[in-house]
Amino acid sequence: MLIIDCPFCGPRAESEFAYGGEGGIARPLATETLTDEQWGDYVFMRSNPKGLHHEQWRHASGCGKWFNALRDTLTYRFHGTWKIGAEPPEAFTRRVQPAAPVGETVVEGLAR
């Protein structure tokens, strides 16, 4: 059972929280102008990294607030939580960037 540091309530047991999937996915505007591919990308495609993951949680049995978290999906260790709209922790900028979505330039011969 994880301990999650609610930015409003402090460290609490996992059983008080609800997981909310990948964070930082902005809903596109003017959706009617998007292609099916662009829209499908937003709705379904996820970076699902092995390593640091930007995700969102809600302190459901608690203050009810959604917040951001940076968690290592291999060790399950949290590298920080922050309020929606607040500055992310420093580790956030160091994390491996997710793969480019389909359609963008593909780096040839990308290794390691």
């Binding site: 059972m1 994880l2 996992e14 059983s15 609800a18 997981y19 999937g21 990948e22 099916d36 591919e37 829209w39 499908g40 990308d41 709705v43 379904f44 495609m45 996820r46 970076s47 699902n48 990294p49 092995k50 993951h53 995700e55 968690r71 999906t73 291999l74 060790t75 399950y76 997710p98 793969a99 480019a100 979505p101 389909v102 593909v106 780096v107 040839e108 011969g109 990308l110 290794a111 390691r112």
Partner: protein, 419 residues
């Protein structure tokens, strides 16, 4: 590549070898050094990957192929699942795919000359609400029309099979569906049997060989960087279950997947008491008894993503609550071991099998919590897809495109019994 051929297993070979103190058995598969180039490479030495290679060699005549596995073969979800095999899915597309697999299961030990212990003891899906019962009715009728055996059981009929079940649970058991041809199999033997069969057909199985890069030129695959060096190839099948997204990201695209921990546990072994397989989607419990005697119990999925091959303790508690609620006689039985796997969950609880945005690169993933049962079928259609560069009729509907055009095959609704 090696010359095809393998030592045949039978009671006679067993007797013969006993006479020589079992000193004469051959390796079931080789540990070859990687070659510089292969006609095709399968990434992932789980059941699906090995089956893909086996059918590629057997049905499509490809011999210069390799399976690359980052750890030990069969050590991913293949080693970790609760081994339930059934084909009673809801939608036509899924039913046909899983039923193809079921048919292969029914002759698999003979085909592989390896006893995978496919035990057709029946699988029961319990219904706990009126809505569950509507869904059971719907699935059972659809199954029958699709040529899949299925029946609806009343509570009394359930009790005839499981006299000790508690039907009067918090959400009372109102009935069940039963597929009699369904059952369980010995998961490790499936991986080993396919590995031995593929090896005998010349497939190189390269263990401890993690893929770390996918090289492309002009939008097409040209080779793989691996822990054991660069391997040149124009055809690559990614069959890596929980790690599919990681591999896709090496090739520059994303998948509609989330990898979650899924846990299971076993009790101490006991004399036979549990004759069938029971699954309850509503209260999250899956249980059967292995031939060795332990109760094999599937837990719910952890809601967060994870690659750690372990999950959260409250899930184990919840699972045993459900088991003890349904089977109060097991309350004093003890849990021996628990573990976890990494399951690749897709938005519609159906797999993705087919082409990718990269030429020569094929994907087979998204089986989530329930792909063991599909092992032979998945390998079979994947081999076809790879060999022909287009999906087989059975996996046409399972392309990546469906997440763009909206043709989802939602197996959550009615048949979302996880395994």
């Amino acid at each position: 590549m090696k010359e095809p051929g393998m030592q045949k297993f039978s009671i006679w070979s067993l007797l013969r070898n006993a006479a020589s103190y079992h000193e004469g058995w051959q390796r079931q598969w080789r540990s070859p050094e990687p070659q510089r180039e292969y006609d095709a490479v399968v990434v992932g030495g789980g059941g699906h990957g090995l089956a893909t290679a086996y059918y590629l060699a057997k049905e499509h005549g490809l011999r210069n192929i390799a399976v690359v596995e980052r750890g030990w073969l069969g050590g991913g979800n293949t080693a970790r699942n609760t081994t339930i095999v059934r084909s009673n899915y809801l939608w036509d597309e899924a039913t046909h795919l899983y039923e193809k697999s079921m048919k292969l299961w029914e002759g698999l030990s003979q085909d592989l000359n390896y006893n995978v212990m496919f035990s057709q003891r029946g699988v029961m899906n319990l219904g706990h609400t009126l809505q569950d019962m509507r869904e059971i009715e719907r699935r059972v009728t659809a199954n029958r029309l699709n040529g899949v055996d299925a029946e609806v059981l009343s509570p009394q009929q359930i009790r005839e099979i499981l006299p000790f079940i508690n039907l009067n649970t918090r959400y009372p058991v109102l009935g069940a569906s039963l597929q009699r041809r369904a059952g369980v199999a010995r998961h490790d033997a499936v991986a080993w049997g396919f590995a031995r069969g593929a090896d005998a057909l010349g497939v190189d199985i390269l263990q401890n060989c993690e893929v770390t890069g996918i090289r492309r030129e002009g939008g097409a695959v040209v080779g793989l960087d691996t822990a054991r060096g660069f391997i040149k190839t124009k055809k690559v099948a990614i069959v890596a279950a929980g790690h599919s997204s990681v591999l896709a990201s090496l090739a520059g695209f994303r998948l509609p997947l989330e990898s979650h921990p899924l846990q299971a546990l076993v009790s101490e072994p006991m004399k036979p008491i549990f004759p069938t397989v029971v699954m309850s989607n509503a209260i999250h419990a899956y249980i059967s008894q292995s031939d060795k005697g332990d109760l094999v119990i599937g837990a719910g999925i952890d809601h967060y993503t994870g690659y750690g091959q372990r999950g959260s303790f409250p899930i184990i508690e919840g699972t045993l609550q459900a088991i003890v609620e349904l089977f109060p006689l097991f309350s004093r039985v003890r849990m021996n071991r628990q573990w976890g796997g990494i399951v690749d969950v897709s938005p519609d609880a159906c797999p993705i099998i087919g082409l990718t945005p990269v030429k020569g690169l094929y994907i087979n993933c998204g089986w989530g919590t329930g792909g063991f049962k599909a092992t032979p079928g998945s390998g079979w259609v994947m081999a076809h897809t790879l060999a022909q560069d287009r999906p087989h009729r059975l996996n046409e509907a399972f392309t990546l495109d469906r997440f763009y055009n909206g043709h989802l095959i939602d197996e959550h609704g009615a048949a979302a019994v996880a395994h």
